[in-house]
Amino acid sequence: MVGVLKIIVSSLLVSSLSLASEYVVIANKNMKNISKAQIKAIFLKKITVIDETNVVPLSLQARDSLRMKFEKDVLRMSFTRLKTHWTKQHYKGLRPPISMQSQQSILAFVKKVEGAIGYINADNLDADVKVIYRWED
């Protein structure tokens, strides 16, 4: 009986791992390696220049599920707290990241624009961008 349970539990674990989705933060090829803390600072506009280049963080639309995952897992901030943050930044003269329509448009923008940085599903990745951070569900 114990052996059967072990098999069932192992099967469930394997199947859940194979279902886990992987996401990536991507940047233009010329971007240097940066830490997760720096990625967060870029998306909160605490960092606006890396080396000599203006950084251009790109976001998805407000209710996009990947955007919500990014805000929860990478920025570690709730929607309300982020809203508060951006209202305060308006007073300091800073704007939120540009909202893009789709992951494809983020990918295309990042390829073309030096300093651009965004996030997409790893399935949409191609070799013309640099992966600077990976995370899973």
């Binding site: 830490s35 803390a37 600072a41 960092i47 220049v49 809203k83 209202t87 007073y91 003269g93």
Partner: protein, 329 residues
């Protein structure tokens, strides 16, 4: 005031690039120019008077180009005030516009920035976002306006680094007269200050110190030194914020201590309750008291705040209630 209205009409007559969202301002066509503003209305009732005010009416303009950015803020302070139950009921109108902030910022890289102009002194945590709509109470603690100059006109050099936490260092330098001193709590011609802050996860701590020179004639203590420590813990539900400062002149203590601890609980996304305990020993103005403040805030949207508070002073005759409405555009 007429110029303000003309500017506002011109600005709003231009076509905005994107749909306007309250609290986020609007971009003027394709220009590196965003416009916004805020307004604050309040009512105070104390044992000696009732007062209604349109206190702040401000216009913000900002933008950026490459590594440069700028912010300009003009404000009509105490635009309209009506008092009752004083010796003579009166109303006052002040249409004069003051320069609250005007600065240009240059960002060298991810670590270094330099700013020149008039800016909020980055002292403590309260003074970073001092306007009514961002505050959790209509009133501000005494430590935020008796310890240090709220505004500095000069240079601000900043360093920041992001490791496990966020380290920031600020150096303030003023060696000239204020731009529009009307809007500063001290009229000064010198301010040398520093700030070191560290933030990790939900915790922030900060230390500030500095020296400034008052230019008001008739004041005996004009060379002043201050130190302020601040700390904050914040989650989605709670916030605990505290500051404690001291000020002295060359030969005596001018403020022995001024500090507060404030707790905030977010009941829902729209409602929050706040309690603040303050203690002040100001030897220049001869104020030595403690007070406790209870307040509630309703935010139908984050850029709109409707607040009520009651202030219990250790000197009962100073007890008062405050209600305000503030909106960020």
């Amino acid at each position: 005031m007429r110029n303000f209205l003309i500017f506002l009409l011109l600005a709003t007559s231009l076509v905005a690039k994107e749909a306007y969202k309250l609290g986020e301002g609007m971009q003027v066509q394709e220009l590196p120019l965003y416009l916004g503003g805020y307004i604050s209305l309040d009512y105070k009732s104390s044992q000696t008077e009732d007062r209604y005010r349109i206190n702040d009416l401000a216009l913000l303009a900002y933008g950026n180009h490459n590594k440069f950015s700028y912010v300009a803020e003009l404000e009509a302070k105490e635009f309209y005030t009506k008092r009752y139950r004083t010796e003579a009921d009166n109303s006052t109108y002040n249409g004069k516009l003051y320069v609250e902030r005007v600065y240009i910022n240059y960002t060298f890289n991810e670590n270094y920035q330099l700013q020149i102009g008039k800016y909020n002194s980055p002292v403590g945590l309260w003074n970073l976002y001092p306007i009514n709509v961002f505050r959790e109470t209509t009133s501000s603690p005494a430590s935020t306006f008796i310890i240090y100059p709220k505004y500095t006109t000069g240079l601000l050099a900043s360093y920041q680094s992001f490791g496990d936490g966020e380290l920031s260092i600020d150096l303030m330098l003023q060696h000239n007269e204020d731009v529009d001193h009307e809007y500063n709590n001290y009229e000064i011609d010198k301010h040398y200050g520093f700030g070191v802050s560290y933030q990790i996860d939900d915790y922030s701590v900060k230390l500030n110190g500095g020296h400034f020179h008052k230019v008001n004639l008739g004041t005996l203590e004009d060379e002043l030194y201050y130190v302020l420590v601040s700390a904050k813990y914040e989650t989605d539900t709670y916030q605990v914020l505290s500051e404690l400062g001291k000020q002295r002149s060359n030969d005596k203590v001018t403020t022995n201590y001024a500090g507060y601890i404030q707790g905030l609980y977010r009941l829902t996304q729209k409602y929050s309750g706040v309690v603040r305990v303050e203690a002040i020993d100001d030897r220049v103005n001869k104020i030595n008291e403690e007070l406790i403040i209870f307040g509630v805030t309703y935010r139908p949207l984050y850029p709109v705040a409707i607040k009520g508070e009651y202030r219990f002073h250790s000197q009962n005759k100073l007890n008062q209630s405050l209600i305000s409405l503030s909106v960020l555009f």
